[in-house]
Symmetry: C2
Subunit: 196 residues, 2 copies
């Protein structure tokens, strides 16, 4: 029912995460109404996306240079590495300003590597720890089955290196409601209770 090139862009957008066919139609119609200059700009940025951005050679976070800005920052705590699944996790943790160490981005979990073309950067992490020993590895994979399995696997791999391994606390989310907390979260909160 749509012109072909229109339908092609709808298909492209529908393949994006959290974008359904209806929303894709709306997005395409919206773009169609924009100035050609804006479309050209968007077109160029998308085409060049991978050309201008690479993975950091050390932590595999996204970066414009060989080393990302965090790895280049000598003021950060070089003895602490926080292991996360995705670059967006780095952003989220950086926003807390609580983590002053370095990162290591796995690129997914054991069962679900996010990037099919790249294996998880686990060997790279072990190699990095062997080359530059650190005091602590903070495992910040998601509190999901896959994230948990990956954390356990990583802990087993790192153990022989005699490095302190920590995991983000599990418990009730701030602002949450005990009444509505699921059983597993509540169990975790009880198990991990701290003295006041």
């Amino acid at each position: 029912m749509f012109p072909k090139s229109f339908q092609k862009l709808i298909d492209h957008f529908s393949s994006l995460p959290s974008v359904g066919p209806k929303m894709a139609e709306r997005l395409v119609l919206y773009l169609f109404k924009q100035d050609q200059a804006k479309l050209d700009d968007l077109s160029k940025i998308i085409g060049d996306l991978k050309k201008n951005i690479h993975y950091c050679a050390q932590c595999f976070n996204i970066s414009e240079n060989g080393l990302c800005s965090i790895c280049q920052d000598k003021k950060r705590d070089q003895s602490l590495i926080c292991v996360v699944e995705e670059p967006l996790d780095v952003i989220a943790i950086e926003k807390t300003r609580q983590m002053r160490g370095l990162y290591h981005v796995l690129g997914g979990t054991l069962n679900a590597p996010a990037d099919k073309n790249n294996a998880l950067k686990i060997n790279e992490l072990i190699g990095r720890l062997k080359k530059n020993p650190v005091k602590e590895v903070m495992i910040a994979t998601n509190p999901t089955t896959e994230g948990e399995a990956t954390a356990l696997y990583l802990a087993r791999m790192i153990k022989p290196l005699n490095i302190k391994i920590t995991r983000l606390a599990r418990g009730l989310p701030t602002g949450g409601d005990i009444e509505y907390a699921d059983e597993i979260t509540l169990s975790g909160a009880i198990e991990g209770r701290r003295e006041m």
Copy 2:
């Protein structure tokens, strides 16, 4: 915190309807993980979007040719024109298979023209009706304040041409629940009640 070109694309996506900054981040990260070939394809389609698609010269629906496929279809009822706000409304109505006439796409409503570069195609509609008189104009603008105002204005403009003017029925949506219907919808349903 993001590389510059990354941030630029996030800004672009955030400006799209129903896309928040968080979702834009996720979309960009998703795209970054795609093959360059897919990005090139997407980039090209977006750059060429307006080049391959125009507005139909007669009904102002989106079209790959001078006249859209509906206006070109001689089997359709040439004596009925359905007036809608947007091309997506044409798609929605076509899916019902209840409208066998032609369309006229206004490009928005009186107070909110969707495309700032183009005025509403009201003069074009009147011109079209004068050139090729029809039996009925079905006004299918949205049942909103703006859509209603536009419908009333159109009706006043078309009246002197002695053409039957109809408006889509207002009432309870099928599958809806009277208990949860808002007062205005329910009032409209009572007012428009039909004999059984």
